[in-house]
């Protein structure tokens, strides 16, 4: 079972330059979280603060009741044994070959015999598909291989918290997909808390349970993946779609003049650099490879999310409901009817906010006893298409095409 990581009011600056301020988030135990953000928003710095490599000026990082920012060095080294960290470049020891690199934590922290070490190491090397390269030095292999070897080393002690700094950078899309699957499988097997820092949209859409984004020295949002994936926030929309139109510029921020100029270019028919379809919207999450146990974290998360569902934005609610299996959906509706006397969140904000407090207290009593919630949590249930399952009233379709985007050039094409 993974460990919960609670970050409270964390602020970090280098000299006078603030990196980010007042970041508060909780990585729920055993769940997979992704932290998005444009380059240079301090994502890697955030990871380093989580492991205590950098000391933030303010705030706390609490793991197992220990605050990493203020505890003595000795405790820090103990706590770090819970972590497996994949660095951006793998951070392998250049003087050791791959085998010794992966074996390093075992030799340092365990009293296993050399044969046991060899067995474990080879299984991890096999897991990342590097068999045959274990005798090579890090300087002799490609960047992608270094990264995979770094992952093998991070996993060798069966960590309870796995932090990945841009696991996709330097990897091709296929290997990235394998890596994503590997992380999900790992999560199903050892139930580790995972935080992935990335700017890969595909990873962000398919892998995590929770999704957050750093921008302009702040945590824009952090919560269930559906919230960010359906967000109306301009930064999020721009980032997910990879457009030039929006608040993110080439440098840290854009000024009004530049925004206006870009908008003018767009209106004149110059592409904004994005693809045609809107990348927002909830897509199915990766499931563990068939044959592996279902992810316990998925069940726990569903329970948690359903309890706070009415507090989430409207579009996120629909995204979540649409991703439920038919059974779960019926169960939720049933429970909803019992607790509030109403069928569904009928349309924008009619139930949610008004009865929020009352519901919350009830929810916490009733939800955990939901029948069969844990019995068959995350098996691949053939998911009914959005329209064919009992539809949420007044919201016949899923959320993705929330807002028609200004694409004048396409309209012109249509006219011709």
């Amino acid at each position: 079972m993974g460990v919960e990581v609670a970050v409270e009011g964390l602020s970090k600056s280098f000299g006078k330059q603030a990196i980010w301020r007042d970041v508060t988030l909780t990585l729920p135990s055993g769940e997979v979280s992704v932290l998005l953000g444009p380059s240079g928003t301090g994502k890697s710095v955030f990871l380093k603060c989580l492991i205590g490599l950098l000391k933030p000026e303010k705030g706390r990082v609490v793991i197992n009741g220990v605050d990493l920012c203020s505890c003595p060095e000795r405790d820090l080294y103990e706590i770090r044994k819970l972590f497996g960290v994949l660095f951006q470049d793998g951070a392998l020891f250049g003087s050791m070959n791959i085998f010794d690199n992966v074996a390093f934590p075992l030799r340092e922290h365990t009293r296993k015999s050399e044969k046991e070490v060899r067995d474990i190491v080879m299984s991890k090397i096999d897991m990342v598909g590097m068999l045959g390269a274990e005798g090579k030095l890090p300087g002799e292999i490609s960047g992608g291989m270094r990264k995979r070897a770094g992952l093998a080393r991070a996993l060798v002690l069966d960590p309870q918290i796995i932090l990945c700094d841009e696991p996709d950078s330097g990897l091709d899309p296929v290997r990235t997909a394998y890596l994503s699957q590997l992380l999900i499988d790992l999560n199903a097997q050892i139930d580790a808390t995972i935080l992935i820092v990335t700017h890969n949209i595909n990873v962000a859409r398919t892998v995590p349970d929770n999704l957050g984004m750093l921008f302009r020295k702040e945590l824009v949002m952090f919560g269930p993946r559906e919230v960010l994936l359906t967000s109306e926030e301009p930064v999020v929309e721009q980032f997910l779609n990879g457009r030039r139109i929006g608040p993110i510029g080439m440098s840290e921020e854009k000024d009004q003049a530049q925004m206006a100029q870009e908008q003018a270019h767009l209106d004149a028919g110059h592409s904004d650099g994005s693809l045609e379809e809107d990348m927002r919207g909830v897509v199915p999450q990766l499931e563990p490879t068939p044959g592996l146990p279902p992810r316990d974290a998925a069940r726990r998360r569903r329970q948690r999310v359903m309890q706070i569902l009415h507090t989430l934005p409207e579009s996120a609610q629909h995204g979540i409901l649409a991703s439920l299996s038919r059974d779960d959906y019926d169960r939720y509706q049933e429970w909803r009817r019992r607790t509030t006397g109403m069928a569904m969140p009928s349309g924008p904000g009619t139930t949610g906010t008004a009865t929020a407090t009352r519901e919350q207290t009830r929810v916490s009593q009733e939800l955990p006893t939901r029948p069969a919630a844990g019995a068959q949590p995350t098996q691949q249930i053939p998911r009914p298409v959005a329209q064919s399952r009992p539809p949420a009233p007044q919201q016949p379709q899923q959320s993705p095409p929330m807002r028609p985007r200004p694409r004048p050039w396409r309209r012109e094409e249509g006219d011709q």
Binding site: K48, I51, L53, Y77, E78, R80, K81, F83, V85, F87, Q88, D89, A91, L92, F93, G94, F104, P105, E108, H109, G150, R153
Partner: protein, 271 residues
């Protein structure tokens, strides 16, 4: 607004900032020295790393040290030889050169070589590991880089300095003997017999102690600078440079202190 005016009115501000920066560096080195000393006694001892480093430092230092020692001993003897001849104390030439070589020249030459050849390599090695995030990775894996990397290096530098000091002393005295007897036409018997006239065993001890302390400083400064490079590969070059310069400065300062204390504590022979 207030900050702007205050910045304008105090031209000393950047100097003060530099000074506090230097003090902070010094404090950090001191803190690391304490760390290293504490961790030296912590098991498990990294024997393999220690032997590797020891062998490496020794192999790069022996030849240069010997080659520097010969002219160093010679120069001291030549200088003292002409001086003692002028005041009619030729017979004490040997004693004077032995004192100078063993107490002062030998430990300093040894450490200059250890810092210049071994320390710079240590610094460059640790520096490049740091910028490749290897050190971070090691800390994250729950292994203290001080205990794992720095302690063996510092111990190796100390050991090599102590042993090398003996060799340099012998080579330096031999060089002095050669130049005094062969070049200046001194008497071999007088040179050798005056050894015991002024020099005493504690001179040898203090020379060795100096070498050990200087070796510690060389290893420590090299490791400290190596673990704190600023900004990429160029930063590594800079810190290597700085580590050698800082070691040399510290060396002469500490040498002065030890010499003064020694001369106060241990009375000269026959005094």
């Amino acid at each position: 607004m207030s900050t702007r005016t205050s910045r304008k009115t105090s031209p000393l501000a950047p100097v003060a900032a530099k000074a506090t920066g230097a003090m902070r560096e010094f404090g950090n080195i001191f803190a690391m020295a304490l760390d290293v000393i504490v961790q030296m006694f912590k098991r498990p001892f990294q024997a393999k790393e220690f032997i590797q480093q020891f062998w490496f430092i020794a192999s790069v230092s022996i030849m240069p040290a010997a080659l520097v020692a010969i002219p160093f001993g010679a120069v001291i003897t030549l200088q003292l030889g002409s001086l003692t001849a002028q005041i009619g104390a030729d017979s004490f030439n040997g004693a004077a050169s032995v004192l100078a070589v063993i107490q002062q020249a030998s430990p300093i030459v040894t450490t200059l070589v250890v810092a210049g050849a071994g320390g710079s390599a240590i610094c460059a090695d640790l520096g490049s590991r740091t910028i490749r995030e290897e050190i971070d990775a090691m800390m994250v894996l729950g292994v203290s880089p001080i205990q794992r990397l720095v302690v063996p290096r510092v111990l190796a530098a100390m050991g090599v300095a102590a042993l090398l000091n003996g060799m340099v002393s012998v080579v330096g005295v031999c060089g002095g003997y050669f130049f005094n007897v062969v070049v200046q036409g001194g008497t071999p018997g007088a040179f050798l017999s005056s050894f015991s006239a002024l020099a005493q065993l504690s001179d040898l001890w203090v020379g060795t102690l100096k070498a050990v302390i200087f070796g510690f400083l060389a290893g420590l400064v090299a490791s400290y600078r190596g673990l704190n490079p600023k900004g990429g590969p160029k930063g590594v070059g800079d810190v290597v440079n700085q580590s050698v310069v800082i070691t040399f400065l510290l060396l002469f300062l500490v040498n002065l202190v030890i010499s003064v204390v020694y001369l106060q504590l241990v009375p000269a022979k026959g005094a």
